[in-house]
């Protein structure tokens, strides 16, 4: 079990791929979160002072 580089490489590669994919999901999720916050903000602003954005 110990010291076989091929075995280690295969297991490591598997998890690197999975974690990289989960990373893309998380980053897309974070970007979407920011977008949602932005979407909420200008809506409020335009109701408060309509001339601010002209």
């Amino acid at each position: 079990m110990k010291g076989n580089p091929y075995l280690f490489a295969a297991y490591a590669a598997t998890w690197i791929i999975h974690i990289a994919y989960i990373g893309t999901i998380v980053s897309r999720y974070a970007r979407l979160k920011r977008e949602i916050d932005e979407l909420k903000k200008p809506g409020l602003r335009s109701q408060e002072k309509p001339e601010a954005r002209s």
Binding site: M1, N4, Y6, L7, A10, I17, H18, I22
Partner: protein
């Protein structure tokens, strides 16, 4: 929903840990190949999971073509994407296993080649989803998924006949498998299926959210014509 997700995630992690322990410690060492054979416990379950995901993609695409159900479209997209990830794992662990056992990184063996072609087909599916304009993506993608799935038996038969004409590397351990090994294999498969389900679930929620946000953007643009166009 969220609580259920975390409980399931925790269970999956525990199962994956147990499966890893089983693969590395509990499973008996193979006589001819030694410890390298333990790649088997990651390679084969990933392949089975990928095939199942592609099969669900096919089913969801057919359902979409008949019923025009947007949920089926999201399921098809998610399954194809996660399936490609698992297929990539198969294609990378395969050569790492082949190198010490057969002495070569890659051989145009039947199973390797058909997995590669399958991977190519589903990557092209993801390309189509990326490049087509949003309104018609689901229909076009579903059509491609149906054609791609129909292609699979042809890929398999053609490569099978192609390969039987040429010498093949000797596959280790053809025939019966030690019941303890089978047990570990099934545990790993269960763990990876749960993991795949978990990833699909989070990807599904992301896609749902993405579509809601796109919809909100469209509504915003309609409601406020002076607003900046994004």
């Amino acid at each position: 929903m969220s609580k259920l997700f975390f409980i399931f995630a925790l269970l999956t992690l525990l199962l994956l840990g147990y499966a890893l322990h089983a693969a590395l410690v509990t499973a008996p060492t193979e006589r001819t190949m030694g410890d390298v054979q333990r790649i088997f416990y990651y390679h084969v379950p990933s392949a089975w999971t990928a095939f199942i995901l592609f099969f669900i993609n096919f089913g969801a695409s057919v359902y979409y073509l008949i019923k025009r159900n947007p949920t089926a479209d999201i399921v098809a997209l998610v399954c194809a994407e996660v399936g490609v990830v698992f297929c990539t794992v198969v294609l990378i662990t395969g050569p790492i296993w082949a190198r010490p056992v057969w002495g070569i990184w890659w051989t145009w063996d039947m199973r390797l080649t058909s997995t590669l072609v399958l991977w190519l087909i589903y990557v092209s599916y993801l390309f189509l989803r990326r490049f087509s304009s949003s309104g018609q993506t689901p229909t076009l993608a579903a059509a491609l998924a149906v054609l791609g799935a129909l292609c699979v038996p042809f890929v398999y038969f053609s490569i099978w006949f192609f390969r039987t004409q040429h010498p093949q590397p000797v596959m280790g351990g053809g025939g019966s498998i030690d019941p303890r090994m089978l047990h570990v294999l099934l545990i790993n498969w269960l763990a990876f299926s749960c993991f795949a389900f978990l990833v699909c679930w989070s990807r599904y929620r992301l896609e749902r959210l993405q579509r809601d946000v796109d919809h909100a953007h469209a509504m915003e643009a309609l409601r406020d014509p002076r607003g900046k166009l994004r």
